[in-house]
């Protein structure tokens, strides 16, 4: 009944999610969706951290995920504020039209 799952299945899932995040980062043209793809990649890496923490019975792996979450929260707050101010100046979020540093 309690069928175990090989640990590398979790790692393969993490790799697949990371790859989907990379694809999204490349093909999406809306700045906010590109940002979401970055979050997806962070989550995929977190999954492999938790898998290795389980594999080696190391609590520090889970602590690392905790810190990644905190940094991701800070990053999301600042990133979305930057997106809002870009939208206010440019009136668009299409990455192809946001290609100048100048206003």
């Amino acid at each position: 009944m309690n069928t175990p799952v090989p640990a590398d299945w979790y790692l393969l899932l993490s790799a697949a999610l990371f790859t989907l995040g990379v694809i999204g980062f490349l093909i999406k043209r809306s700045l906010i969706t590109v940002f979401m793809s970055i979050e997806l990649m962070l989550n995929a890496v977190n999954l492999s951290f938790v898998t290795f923490a389980h594999e080696w019975h190391a609590v520090k792996g889970q602590i690392f995920v905790f810190f990644v979450m905190m940094v991701a929260a800070a990053e999301a707050a600042v990133g979305l504020a930057i997106i809002i101010s870009i939208f206010r100046v440019r009136g668009t979020l299409t990455v192809d039209q946001i290609d100048r540093m100048k206003l």
Binding site: R29, I32, N46, M70, A77, T94
Partner: protein
């Protein structure tokens, strides 16, 4: 039981991530990202990380994604249009991404026979175990994250504030 739960929620995560790419409107992408994060929380529970599962739901699926959906609705940016850039990214990016996935999968599968099995009876890492490490060995980094979050909040307020001249 573990196998069934793993397969169901791994499928949810993959389907949500694929849906994130396929949807044209940012709000649909944000909602499918919430599905991915919630199913990852269940996978964390299966791996015995109870605190991280709760933090995943509260911090990621809760706080961060609410911020995302809020910004999407605030800016009301419509469907994204296809441009030359996305076609270039498709032609150049997809082979590179396939190579990346193949490399990762090959590395994992080669190392995989050294890894053990994950089962529901492995026991959990309790919040107590986690906090013993976090508040004893890693107290300084933990306190530094609070400073980081404070700076990020100040930065977000300063960036998103409407510039009405008397700043």
């Amino acid at each position: 039981m573990h196998l069934v739960l793993f397969l169901i929620f791994a499928l949810f995560a993959l389907a949500g991530a694929a849906n994130l790419l396929l949807q044209k409107h940012p709000i649909n992408s944000a909602l499918s990202l919430i599905v991915v994060m919630s199913s990852l929380a269940v996978l964390y529970l299966l791996l015995g990380a109870e605190f991280l599962a709760m933090a995943q739901v509260i911090v990621y699926a809760g706080a961060i994604m609410v911020l995302f959906t809020f910004v999407v609705m605030l800016l009301n940016e419509g469907r994204e249009e296809k441009t030359w850039g996305s076609r270039a990214a498709r032609t150049v990016g997809f082979p590179a991404v396939v190579v990346l996935l193949a490399t990762l999968a090959a590395a994992i599968l080669r190392a995989g026979r050294h890894y053990g099995m994950v089962s529901l009876s492995d026991g959990i890492t309790t919040t107590q175990d986690l906090s013993k490490v976090l508040f004893r060995d890693l107290l300084l980094p933990f306190e530094l994250t609070s400073v980081l979050i404070l700076i990020a909040i100040l930065g977000a307020v300063a960036l998103a504030r409407k510039d009405d001249g008397n700043a």
